[in-house]
């Protein structure tokens, strides 16, 4: 779970984790209420199905000591919340709602109860499409511009596997659509770049020239022209695709890159690598 650390939080980790997990949703509270209802009014079978496992989960998964102990053996910082998936919220809460509706006799009363329950759901939850449904514009469910940019680069490049530095979202998506596109920056480096500034040591790190590219193009930190070009050269980056809002476009032109195309929201630049390196797949025929 992002930003939460068992070692730092100690026994408070579970509560913090649970708070992030549920957010503004009250479904876990509804689950507890449903459990209490089953405890008091439920049949033997219902109690057998829902109570023992819930008690077990309360004693283990929902025990503040559990993540602290587990973390000594495994790194559970980022994944502990997945244990909450075991809680059968999606079974018990709807089951009890249904039972309540069926307990009532008469169509009108049932309709009223149903509407009330739906209101409870809406108030207790957070609608998945609260920001609107975004229909896919093509069969690949990728931005149209990304597909356009892929075609532009392949048309321009003589290499079978051109290498590109892309803006954040396209960097995460391009290889799902176009596995022939090599990327200069991997996911973790990009995520780090978005959240953390680069230090001088990192900018001088010859083993990771992509840090300079990220610092300059994403974090907009100052980087010397020569250092930037050296990073492009050593990472063998052929293309840079940045958003039109990115203020570095004039720099890229002055640094000798050529703008080969622009799409609705992006500019595509080409860098002539001085010592080109054509990526080739490893030949495994020698092995078998």
């Amino acid at each position: 779970m992002q930003g939460l650390n068992v070692t730092e939080k100690g026994l408070g980790y579970l509560w913090a984790c649970l708070t992030s997990y549920t957010g503004a949703c009250a479904y876990l509270m509804l689950y507890v209420a449903a459990l209490l209802y089953i405890c008091v009014f439920g049949s033997r079978r219902e109690k057998e199905i829902f109570i023992p496992c819930s008690v077990f989960l309360i004693l283990t998964v929902y025990n503040p000591v559990a993540p602290v102990i587990l973390n000594r053996f495994f790194d559970v910082n980022s994944e502990y919340y997945r244990f909450f998936w075991i809680t059968p919220v999606v079974v018990l809460v709807p089951y009890l709602f249904t039972r309540l509706i069926l307990t009532v006799r008469g169509g009108r009363e049932r309709s009223v109860i149903t509407v009330l329950i739906l209101c409870i759901c809406l108030v207790s939850g957070n609608f998945v499409y609260r920001n609107g449904i975004q229909p896919a514009t093509n069969i690949y469910k990728m931005p149209d511009e990304l597909i356009q940019i892929s075609a532009i680069i392949h048309e321009d490049s003589e290499a079978e596997y051109p290498k590109a530095f892309l803006e954040y979202e396209y960097n995460m998506q391009m290889r799902q659509y176009d596995p022939k596109m090599q990327l200069t920056v991997d996911r973790e480096d990009y995520l780090n770049a978005v959240s953390t500034p680069y230090t001088e040591d990192m900018l001088e790190d010859e083993a990771h020239p992509q840090y300079r590219l990220l610092a300059f193009l994403v974090r907009l930190q100052p980087v010397d022209r020569e250092d930037f070009l050296d990073a492009l050269e050593s990472s063998k980056t052929d293309y840079i695709v940045i958003n039109k809002n990115n203020p570095r476009d004039t720099f890229l032109l002055s640094a000798g890159l050529k703008k080969i195309a622009e799409t609705e929201h992006h500019n595509v630049f080409r860098y002539e690598v001085k010592e080109p390196y054509d990526f080739e797949l490893v030949d495994y025929s020698v092995v078998y």
């Binding site: 992030s20 549920t22 957010g23 479904y27 009014f41 439920g42 049949s43 033997r44 079978r45 219902e46 057998e48 023992p52 496992c53 989960l57 283990t60 053996f73 495994f74 994944e79 997945r82 244990f83 909450f84 998936w85 075991i86 919220v89 999606v90 079974v91 709807p94 089951y95 709602f97 249904t98 039972r99 069926l102 307990t103 149903t114 759901c121 609608f127 998945v128 499409y129 449904i133 975004q134 229909p135 896919a136 514009t137 069969i139 469910k141 995460m172 998506q173 290889r175 799902q176 659509y177 176009d178 596995p179 990327l183 991997d186 996911r187 973790e188 990526f279 797949l281 490893v282 495994y284």
Partner: protein, 386 residues
């Protein structure tokens, strides 16, 4: 239009395969309590997990010894065809009976069936037609696309396309994506369409099948001991099982609609509902929704004593299959199994069930230990002979 046909055909073929695989295990299970020798829905769900169990066994050796994906495709395709043909011969008549029963049910309860299908269809449309940006797709979908492009399995880094000198063990045993790659290579369907549309729709349908089975089990239990008309002494609230048959049939679509509403509204970036609605094609979503809920369904059936001698075999298949779909299953399912089955074993005083429970927990624990050994640096599997 062609897009819809691809999705529909892909999903249909998936279900034929799953039903064929699952029927080999579930033959005869429904006969005692529900009159059919082939429980179509249960067979499809169990078949899904069995399919990935068998695929794992076939996939790992060639992957470990860096053989091409096309070699796996050539081995796997005829195997599947033979298994489907064999199952058709063995279970064909039972399938016809099973589908005939479903036909009757649809004729008897058309409105209820429509009410069940409505939320399911809405989910299918939502997951197949909407755009979602998720960071993890950069690994999962790109891994399928990369494997097809390079004709190798897990050898190239999905994030950048660079060659990796060793296998990343976190993902090595989750061969789910390699199955996607095999299908994409065989059919020429792009990875994005297969994963984000065909498999997403398949997973939504399977999950809703399990929801249906749970809702049915809660209101119209398979066990005669809890069947319609059953009313337990001491139940103060008027157990719904005591209602009329019509009431019980109505309860199923109502419960499924509420399950749908919960999945639409129990949303933060961490909940399994979010994974189901927006990241359906990811292994984690399958484990967090389909596998977890299937184990819960099997627990209900075992608690009622209505699933017979194959109960633990089926549970093992689900657990092993889930572990080959996503490494998240390695920690989730052992805990879930313990939470559900240990109290049941104690209550029922059935120590004979313990070996079954242990067998189900083993795959997750073994995969976890292997991963820990890898992380601690005890071994590395290289992608080229050293």
């Amino acid at each position: 239009m062609a897009y819809i046909v691809i999705i529909a055909l892909g999903v249909l073929v998936n279900f034929i395969i799953y039903l064929s695989f699952g029927s080999l295990i579930t033959m005869g299970i429904g006969k005692k309590h529900r009159g059919s020798s082939c429980p179509i829905l249960l067979s499809s769900v169990i078949g899904f997990f069995l399919y990935y169990c068998v695929f794992f066994v076939v996939c790992v050796p060639p992957m470990k010894y860096y053989r091409p994906l096309s070699m796996l495709t050539k081995i796997w395709t005829p195997m599947v065809l033979v298994i489907v043909a064999a199952s058709l011969i063995m279970n064909g008549k039972a399938w016809v009976d099973g589908f005939r029963q479903w036909g009757e049910r649809i004729r008897n309860w058309p409105v209820f069936i429509l009410l069940i299908l409505l939320p399911v269809m809405i989910q299918v449309i939502l997951v197949s037609c909407t755009y979602n940006f998720t960071l993890d797709a950069a690994y999962y979908v790109a891994n399928v696309a990369t494997s097809v492009e390079t004709d190798m399995m897990n050898v190239y880094d999905p994030f950048t396309g660079a060659w990796q000198d060793h296998y990343e063990m976190r993902y090595f045993f989750a061969t789910y994506q390699m199955q996607d790659a095999v299908v994409c290579q065989l059919t020429g369907i792009p990875a994005l369409i297969w994963t984000k549309s065909v498999m997403a729709v398949t997973v939504i349908l399977l999950t809703n099948i399990v929801y249906y089975m749970i809702a049915r089990e809660m209101f119209i239990p398979a066990s005669p001991a809890f069947g319609p008309g059953y009313e337990e002494a001491g139940s103060k609230s008027g157990n719904s099982c005591a209602g009329t048959v019509r009431n019980n049939e109505l309860a199923i679509p109502v419960m499924m609609i509420f399950m749908f509403v919960v999945n639409l509204t129990f949303i933060t970036i961490y909940t399994s509902s979010l994974f189901l609605m927006t990241r359906t094609y990811e292994g984690k979503a399958i484990v967090g929704n389909l596998a977890v809920i299937t184990v819960f369904y099997l627990f209900i059936r075992m608690n009622d004593g209505s699933i017979g001698k194959k109960a633990w075999l089926i549970t093992f298949i689900v657990c092993f299959g889930a572990a080959t779909i996503s490494s998240s299953a390695n920690m989730l399912l052992p805990v879930e199994l313990t939470a559900l089955f240990i109290p049941m074993l104690i209550r029922k005083k059935r120590p004979g069930m313990l070996p079954g429970y242990i067998a189900c927990v083993i795959p997750g624990i073994v995969f976890s230990l292997v991963f820990v050994l890898y992380v601690k640096g005890y071994f590395v599997w290289y992608t080229f002979p050293k």
